[in-house]
């Protein structure tokens, strides 16, 4: 029975040996892109911007290693975005005259493609839930990838469009509700795809994509009824380096909470079906309660961790912009409420070992608190954060 040790694989090879050739290639590519970006735009960047660029390169390289699909994804998105930017050359007007820009490469076109594919993905996943075959959910996954890619491409191109509209306006497109909704949809989709690829539970998508489709619907409504896609200059308070890290960090939080809530829905349905129709096909198709619970926990954990960082970053920003790191502005206060909601959830799980329907319900209620923090505060309460007004 004795086997030579070398044949057993318990000894994790060193980190450098685990990085494969393709990882090295990807890392080299991201660094090269970073260097080129610096060489092109370095003269416009202060040290914070430079730090941000290094951070972005490091993050992307790490992501590529941590989750390999990110490599191809980020390259394709990057190439498409560059294509759009290249088509514009230096003339914003081409957005409406150039065929490719009009239908593919512009920010607005990207958003439309994102919307279409995320809707299609939702339909495919829901179909997959009711079908015996894995095919529809695989299609759903592919569409979700395309949708998320289109959304990220749209943001990257829009970044350039803002500078083309007026070079003095320049800001990163995470400054208004329209832009952050694109970010939210793309980011949540990617987070979901990560969990799907790690667990292989494809039917989770039938639930998670519903909330993403809902956010796409809001985005479209906002666009068509309010012309939200118009590029406006920043209000002075938002003209800060902090915005670039505060906002995306926040949206990892919101995305995690949204995923957790939808898995909570799946959990409750599964829980009910197991009692009422244990043998039905649909009951079998929904992932096991343990699997749902595990992903729900992970989504809340990552969401909570990032939301904590985002709140602290927000406090630091507030200290610089408003003169106080905590002023009980409604947005701040609701962030605290949201944070407390999930802190309590985590305590119940950690210390009391709670699982089951109560925690699922809690996660669902959490999404309502999240939505209020994100949107409701801007709509119903007045405060310093009022630039995101509807």
């Amino acid at each position: 029975m004795s086997v030579p040790h070398e044949a057993l694989d318990f000894e994790r090879p060193g980190i450098f040996r685990r990085i494969q050739l393709r990882d090295w290639a990807y890392i080299a590519l991201t660094i090269a892109v970073g260097v080129i970006a610096f060489w092109q735009y370095g003269h416009m960047m202060d040290r914070y911007d430079t730090g941000g660029l290094i951070l972005a390169v490091g993050l992307s390289a790490w992501m590529g290693w941590f989750w390999r699909p990110w490599q191809a994804f980020s390259i394709i998105v990057g190439v498409l975005a560059l294509f759009g930017i290249w088509l514009y050359a230096d003339d914003l007007a081409r957005g409406s005259t150039n065929f490719w820009l009009n239908y593919v490469g512009s920010g607005q076109a990207g958003v439309m493609w994102m919307s279409v594919f995320l809707y299609l993905s939702t339909v495919a996943y829901v179909t997959g839930l009711f079908s015996r075959s894995d095919f529809p959910t695989r299609v759903g996954g592919a569409f979700a990838w395309i949708g998320a890619g289109a959304g990220l491409m749209a943001l990257l191109v829009r970044w350039r469009e803002i500078y083309l509209t007026d070079p003095t306006w320049g800001y990163i497109p995470v400054a208004n509700l329209y832009e952050v909704f694109i970010l939210l949809a793309a980011m949540t989709t990617l987070m979901y795809l990560y969990y799907e690829s790690r667990t292989g539970q494809r039917t989770m998508g039938a639930f998670v994509m519903l909330v993403i489709a809902a956010s796409v619907t809001f985005l479209l409504w906002y666009m068509f009824s309010r012309g939200a896609q118009e590029i406006e200059p920043l209000v002075p308070a938002l003209n800060s380096w902090w915005m670039k890290i505060h906002v995306p960090t926040n949206f990892v939080g919101y995305g995690g909470f949204a995923i957790a809530a939808m898995l909570g829905v799946a959990y409750l349905i599964k829980h009910r079906l197991e009692r009422t129709r244990p043998d039905a096909a649909i009951t079998q198709r929904i992932p096991s309660k343990e699997a749902l619970d595990s992903v729900m926990y992970k989504a809340i954990a990552i969401g909570f961790a990032f939301f904590t960082i985002a709140t602290v970053l927000g406090a630091m920003w507030a200290a610089e912009a408003w003169g106080g790191y905590w002023t009980w502005d409604p947005k701040e206060t609701w962030s605290l409420i949201l944070w407390l909601t999930y802190a309590a959830w985590l305590h119940m799980r950690f210390t009391k070992g709670w699982r089951g329907p109560v925690m699922a319900w809690w996660a669902i209620i959490g999404l309502f608190v999240t939505t209020f923090t994100f949107l409701g505060v801007n709509m119903f309460l007045s405060g310093l954060h009022s630039y995101g007004e509807l």
Partner: protein, 690 residues
């Protein structure tokens, strides 16, 4: 802690057993209660609910506003409960204090056990208890014990476990653990929260409240000049933390800030004086503000030379621990040179009104009365975004405007906003004046047509002539004479009617004309008479206009002139609703702005940041480092040469991952097969329960 507890229960140490047997002491109960999860959750929920109240009920409004919104009864109750300043209410601070105490107790209670936990490998476990673990496995190997143990250690080491080994009577126990940083994460999160709260408390208003209780301080609720604020509302420089604001006009300076407190304020002294040299608003091409900036000069007796520094939004000045922020801006008392143009017979004799924003000036009206104008605000730039027909964005620059209120002797009056320059509206230029009943309403606009020189001259001439009875009579006679459709005998009557109608119109617009007709004519004939009268009136107004044009030397009337007449008639008709005997025209101004500064001292800030860092690091350790313990028990097989092995493990969370990892460990340690190569024949459950 449930799973670790389970491990401890499974193999109880003598110490913990004894503790359980002893009767709890009273202090112990207190510690248990204060550090209990139930209390913690209750407090978290209480804090959440209180926070919700604070956002639903708008905070820190003037008390008069609350009184109007909620009525005297609820206002008393709300004010008494501190709901208007929830976050500094005593009960709220108590909840936070309890939270801090509860968390501290929790840390206090957990830490010794935690340290012991990390030190103690517990090589004393019983075989029976190992078997009862959720994750456990057992096997008989042919391998000699030494060789097995050696192998096991290699696996444990490679997998990041630290291990202790103990042998008694031919039985060896290896106790191992990994992911100890996770336990540190627990400490960091909770200590972090305590640190944050302590830092925040230091920056709160508690010290002021205590001084209020002690009678050292008293809130000032009146808004009076600073020299009249009693000393009891002044806070000398001892106050270590505050956040207040002050508005400084250009060229002026301040050495105090105002700290808002409930329905009033305190005056906080500063050890230096801040002078505002200039305030600027930088704009984008659209006219939207891109930046607010203040050039400050700090005069500090401790400095040889004053410090000059420019602050803007997001870029404050930190001076000796005082942070000075650009918070807002306002008018600083702009000088306004205004012509009051009477809207009547004296329309050509303007009155010069010198004023300043925030000032009140009395003006004699032509009818011998007095009105008071209160200058409320001045706006240098008015940009209105418009979409043209093609949907392309366009910005209209309307130029300067000023806001004022015109009051009669009783103090009643409407609110107005006048623009200095005429604005283009559908192809013609107008002087605009908005009027509204209260600042909450929308403006209704009076459009006074501008003539070819972009001045009000022609309109004023017309208005003055219309108000002059002699001119009216003269014009009326001309009109009647020139009208071919009437017979000579009716001339007189028509002329009289025309003059009368013009008089009525001058006084009260079409409304006055209508009222007059209604009072004189039987109901069934009103329609018919009204049409006739309006025709006569218009003929008169037109005749008057011809006169004006003639005086100006204009001979041929173009569409443009015709339109001017129509606009003039509409404007005169609207004057009766405008409720001001004057049109106030801004001739000139000297802009002076004030910068709103926020000045804060927050010695607790770095403490809060340190606490936040601890919290974040702690959370990541808690979530992403998995704390695992593993026991391996090995003894000689009773039936021969080999080794009997029991393997058991536990983790404090991440059950699913742990079970997977345990399966791997079992394969490496017991089966001694690689995990990667999945020959499933030997795959068995690691969990003997299923």
């Amino acid at each position: 802690m449930s799973n670790i507890d389970q491990a401890a229960d499974a193999g109880p140490s003598p110490a913990s057993r004894q503790k359980a047997a002893r009767k709890p002491r009273r202090s112990r109960i207190l510690v248990d209660f204060m550090g209990s999860m139930t209390l913690a959750i209750t407090l978290l929920v209480a804090l959440a609910i209180a926070s919700v109240i604070g956002t639903v009920l708008v905070q820190n409004e003037p008390y008069t506003e609350y009184l109007m919104d909620y009525g005297p009864f609820w206002h008393e109750i709300f004010a008494g409960m501190g709901l208007y300043q929830v976050y500094s209410a005593t009960w709220f601070l108590l909840v936070v204090a309890f939270l801090v105490i509860s968390t501290s107790f929790c840390v206090y209670r957990q830490t010794p056990g935690l340290i012991k936990d990390l030190r103690r490998y517990n090589t004393q476990v019983k075989e029976k208890s190992l078997r009862s673990f959720n994750a456990s496995a057992e096997a008989d190997l042919d391998q000699p014990q030494d060789e097995f143990l050696q192998h096991a250690h290699r696996v444990l080491k490679a997998q990041g476990f630290r291990a202790r080994e103990k042998s008694t009577d031919g039985q060896t126990v290896i106790a191992a653990m990994r992911g100890r940083w996770n336990r540190l994460g627990y400490l960091l999160t909770h200590v972090g929260i305590v640190v944050i709260c302590v830092g925040a408390l230091a920056d709160g208003t508690t010290l002021l409240k205590i001084n209020e209780w002690l009678g050292n301080l008293e809130i000032e609720t009146r808004s009076v000049p600073i020299s009249e604020v009693p000393r009891s509302a002044w806070i000398p420089d001892w106050n270590p933390s505050f956040r207040g604001s002050v508005e400084i006009p250009e060229g002026a300076s301040a050495n105090v800030v105002f700290l808002p407190m409930r329905d009033g304020y305190f005056v906080q002294e500063l050890p230096f004086r801040i002078e505002l040299e200039e305030f600027r608003i930088e704009r984008f091409s659209t006219g939207a503000e891109s930046s607010y900036e203040s050039d400050l000069i700090i005069h500090d007796p401790d400095r040889d030379e004053p410090l000059r520094h420019t602050i803007s939004v997001n870029y404050p000045l930190i001076y000796n621990g005082y942070a000075i922020f650009q918070a807002s801006f306002a008018d600083g008392g702009t000088r306004l040179d205004i012509d009051a143009i009477p809207l009547g017979a004296e329309a050509l004799q303007e009155l010069e009104v010198p004023g300043r924003v925030f000032q009140e000036v009395d003006i004699p009206t032509p009818d011998g009365d007095t009105r008071t104008i209160e200058f409320i605000n001045f706006q240098l730039e008015n940009v209105v975004p418009l979409l043209d027909e093609d949907g392309v964005r366009e910005n209209r620059h309307m130029g300067p405007s000023f806001d004022f209120r015109l009051m009669d002797r009783t103090g009643h009056g409407l609110y107005y906003r006048n623009y200095q320059r005429p604005a283009l509206q559908e192809g013609a230029m107008y002087f605009l004046s908005g009027v509204r009943e209260s600042p909450a309403d929308e403006f209704h606009y009076l459009f006074l047509p501008a003539d070819a020189d972009n001045s009000l001259e022609r309109f004023r001439t017309y208005l003055a002539m219309l108000h002059n009875p002699e001119v009216r009579n003269e014009i009326a006679r001309q009109v009647a004479r020139d009208d071919d459709t009437v017979e000579g005998s009716q001339n007189q009557a028509i002329a009289q009617t025309a003059a009368e109608l013009m008089g009525l119109f001058a006084q009260g617009g079409y409304m006055a004309v209508h009222n007059e007709i209604e009072s004189r004519v039987p109901a069934e004939r009103i329609e018919e008479v009204r049409d006739l009268m309006v025709r006569i009136l218009h003929a008169g107004l037109q005749g008057l206009y011809m006169e004006v044009l003639q005086d100006e030397g204009v001979v041929s009337i173009q569409e443009e002139e015709q339109r001017f007449l129509e606009d003039t008639i509409s404007a005169i008709n609207a004057i009766s609703l405008y409720q001001s005997p004057f049109f106030f025209h801004l001739k000139d101004f000297e802009h002076r702005e004030a910068s709103g500064l926020q000045i804060a001292r927050a010695p607790g800030q770095s403490t809060v940041y340190v606490g936040s860092t601890m919290l974040i690091i702690g959370i990541f350790l808690l979530f992403y480092v998995s704390y695992q313990r593993l026991w391996i028990m090995a003894r000689r097989r009773e039936d021969g040469e080999g080794t009997h092995v029991v393997l058991a493990g536990t983790s404090n969370r991440h059950q699913v991952e742990f079970e997977e990892h345990f399966a791997h460990l079992k394969r490496w340690i017991i089966d001694q097969k690689p995990v990667g190569n999945a020959d499933d024949s030997t795959r068995e459950s690691n969990n003997k329960n299923d």
